[in-house]
């Protein structure tokens, strides 16, 4: 069942790629249908999901587990499964891709190829989150880079080639660092299996070697997340990518980095993680403040949203760093921080996905993201003037939206462990300021030079954006179904890292 969810989009991608004579409209709708089927399948998975017994020497801690030998010589197999960390991200992935497929109903540049590419990308993303083997994880991780490269280079605008290349180089570097770390884990343990590695972490007490392996893994994940100082690939990639490309990049691909922290780095290298915890925490805080400050300076809406991603990912890094400060903190606070981090991944995915799609609306109408050239859009485009503020308020963490739940948990947990993290609260203040200013520039005031040409949000765009925001609101009001899934897994991670 899980493999079906992972590979169905790939099959559809191959069919679409091969069907050269297919009319554009049929290709667009085929993509929508497949991605909605995926949503339905994942809904079934969620419905049937029962929290598995926590990881131990006899329990894998995974539901829907599947395992097929692949290269037994080096202890790697096709091993997939879901738990409270991965299931929410799998769900996020299918939802975001479905929104993109609907948004792309108006795409007129090679729609068939785009549909095939994004379906391929969807398999890669789902594979990363479902993987329970480091090599399987890496395979999908790398494929997602290749897919995203083509998404930016093929459907981007501006200096898309350059940005795509920079994206590829940077994240490929990260993935290779990651691979090096994985090989280090293998050499120390004789297996690539994530369950075994988490159950019996190698390199405990290995001092420098453990530190080096964690450092390579961290660099790999930090590039992907991205955190300061590895974030410089992100703004150009976002600015020049198409709307759906940006949405997938921000909503799903960035999560692979933070997911790697809780899935790989913390359980498999617990003592090195504890040694590095202060560094990670500091990087997180710096990312929060730096991302917010730079975002504040942007006049380009898309660049601004891109930098707020650095800021939002920074909270996650800060929280998981705090969760590594075991001495003198209580387990509940650490579990809370991790739960908040995972919730933030989902929340950021939904909200930023919506924001990037809305930025795409701006570009589709006027060919620019310059906020200064618009103004007074509220009168001209009432639907846009509802969606954008909702997304912006959700993003800045207003109560009632999922971002608030996530940030509340992360800060409650982190400050209880390390009061210094309160510094990062400045980030919330700054994001609030920058979003309010952006709303002011775009929606209110005198009409700008491009306002007259602005046509309000179309039905397909509305159908793509609104569900994301509805979900973000629902999770903000009724977070229990999500938290019930995440909390046990977060507790396991908190316990594993404390070993």
């Amino acid at each position: 069942m899980l493999s079906l969810v992972v590979f169905l989009p790939l099959v559809a991608a191959v069919v679409l790629a091969a069907a050269r004579g297919l009319p554009d409209a049929a290709a667009r709708w085929a993509w929508v249908v497949v991605s909605l089927v995926e949503v339905a399948l994942v809904a079934v998975l969620w419905w049937r999901y029962e929290t598995p017994a926590p990881l131990s020497s006899t329990e894998s801690g995974l539901a829907f587990e599947e395992q097929v030998p692949w290269i037994p010589g080096v202890g790697t197999s096709y091993h997939v499964g879901l738990d409270g960390l991965s299931l929410p991200l799998v769900a996020l992935t299918v939802v975001v891709f479905a929104a993109c497929s609907i948004y792309a109903l108006r795409e007129d540049r090679r729609p068939r190829t785009q549909a095939a590419l994004f379906l391929f990308l969807q398999t890669a993303c789902l594979g990363v989150f479902a993987a329970a083997d480091l090599i399987v994880f890496f395979v999908f991780f790398d494929l997602s880079i290749v897919g995203m490269y083509f998404a930016i280079a093929g459907w981007g605008h501006g200096s898309a080639q350059r940005s795509a290349l920079q994206f590829f180089l940077y994240t490929f570097l990260g993935s290779l660092a990651l691979l090096l770390g994985f090989i280090g884990l293998y050499v120390a343990s004789g297996t690539f299996d994530m369950v075994e590695l988490a159950a019996n972490p190698p390199l405990v007490g290995a001092g420098v070697t453990g530190g080096l392996v964690l450092a390579t893994v961290l660099v790999g994940l930090a590039v992907k997340t991205p955190t300061v100082p590895f974030h410089t690939w992100l703004p150009p990639a976002h600015t020049d990518a198409s709307a759906v490309g940006s949405a997938v990049l921000a909503a799903v691909l960035l999560k692979m980095g933070t997911y790697g922290f809780v899935r790989i780095a913390m359980p498999m290298l617990p003592d090195a993680w504890r040694d590095f915890a202060w560094v990670i925490l500091a990087v997180g805080i710096v990312s929060v403040v730096w991302g917010a400050l730079v975002a504040l300076a942007q006049t380009d809406l898309k660049r601004m949203v891109a930098y707020t991603s650095v800021n939002h990912m920074g909270y996650i890094v800060m929280a998981v760093g705090a969760a590594g400060l075991v001495g003198g903190s209580d387990e509940q606070a650490r579990q809370l921080a991790i739960t908040g981090a995972v919730t933030q991944m989902v929340s950021h995915g939904l909200i930023t996905g919506a924001l990037f799609l809305l930025a795409g609306v701006l570009h589709a109408r006027a060919g620019t993201y310059e906020m200064g050239r618009f103004g007074g859009l509220a009168g001209r485009a009432p639907r846009f003037a509802v969606l954008l503020p909702v997304a912006a308020f959700a993003s800045l963490g207003l109560p009632g939206f999922s971002g608030f739940i996530a940030e509340l948990q992360m800060f409650t947990g982190s400050i209880a462990i390390a009061p210094v993290t309160a510094v990062a609260l400045v980030g919330i203040l700054l994001t609030a300021a920058l979003f309010l200013r952006a709303l002011q520039r775009l929606l209110t005031g005198e009409p700008g030079e491009l306002t007259a040409s602005f046509r309000d949000v179309r039905a397909s765009e509305l159908l793509a954006v609104a569900p994301l925001l509805v979900l973000a609101t629902l999770l903000g009001v009724l977070p229990r179904p999500l938290l019930d899934v995440i909390e046990p897994a977060a507790g396991t991670v908190a316990a594993l890292v404390a070993r």
Binding site: R20, P69, D142, L143, V146, L165, F168, F172, G184, V187
Partner: protein, 464 residues
Amino acid sequence: MAMSGMGSDVVAVLPEVLLLVGALAALVGGAYTPRERQWVLRLVAVAALLGSSAAAVVGLTSPAGLVFEGTYAVDSTTGAVRLIVAAATLLVIGLGVDELAGHRQESETYALLLLSATGAVVMAGAADLLVMVVAFLLASIPLYALVGQARTASAAEGAMKTYLMGALFGIVLLTGVVVLLGVSGGEAGYAGLAVALETAPAGAVAAGAVAVIVGLMFKAGGVPGHFWVPDAAQGAGVTAAAFLTTVPKIGAVVAIYRLVDALPVTVDAQLVVAVLAVASMTLGNLAAFAQTAPRRLLGWSTVSQVGYALLPAAVAGRTDLAEPAMVLFLAAYAVTNLAAFAVVAALPRRVSIDDYRGLARSHPLLAGALLVSLLGLLGTPPTSVFVGKLLVATAAWDGGSGWLAVVLVVNTLASLFYYLRWFAPVFRGGEVDGEYPEPRAWATRAAVVGGVASVVLGLIAGAV
């Protein structure tokens, strides 16, 4: 007793014998066959390769051991090399059919290919210095002719360079063999050599070993014996270019592995290989940056690839992973590199990477094969070279040389630049099509087969 022993020995090397017989049949038959009917000899060559593979598969089921008085190893590695070389040569013939059919030297080409392939296999199986030298010559001499066949100025230059470098490195190799034989008291078999050299003066052993390894680097196409590779890849006919950047390397890398494994611990031959491997990957990658001609670019890329392939030899005897890693990497490299060459062979008029602009629109199959092969050479999953590189890096780290794994990763990143420079235009718009003839049919098929094989081999790597 000697007679029956010899008889079973011949059976044990049946795959090699079949290749040799096929070569001779093609050579002799070619003299009596009119030019328009030379395709018959193509079938002969293909039959010899298929027969050889079949015999190799059968051979894999029998227990490993040494034959011909301990001079030749028939084990799983030799078995795998037989299969890889046969499959690679088949692919070479497949991608070359369009170029060779009706050519004045068609049958000679098949004979030369099979002879050189025989030499490559024997090099890989040799467990004796003298057998290895003979195999080296058998693999090299046909290459000079293959490169020079194209009868163009650049082919002549390539042939000349190949010949001179081959002669020079052949002498270095022979010198090394003589030194090793001298200090071992005439013991040439690897089993005896390992024992005899333990008490021999380490300096002399080291000098001999370095000379032999350096000599073999000519066949491997790695630093310092790499100068001929880009010129030959660019100047020779595309069939010859595909062959000489793939098949001889396989034999040479395995030969280096076996030699290093046999040398006593008194000399650190592994370090010599490690240094040469690092030099090959780095130099190959740096030189490939500036290339705009696809074949020259691929030529330099093979120099860097052989560096990766040599890493298992650099930890030979220090980890059980080394041998399977080497075999898998060589197999993966062979199909992937040939897939890339097949694309080049299918589009002979596109002489610069800029000419590949818009290929994805006009010829999606070829573009797909090119994408798979270039991403494969880069080492992106799920192609087989990724699995190969993964195993190679793991073996290096497991063998106590973690730094080699780091070097491999850094070089992989560096190689991204030039592979990307080639395939980025393929998927860009801006048609320049129309002035090019239709792609060659057989080469297109070979490219697709190679691309598919490259991915499938990665997915079933566990079974291999």
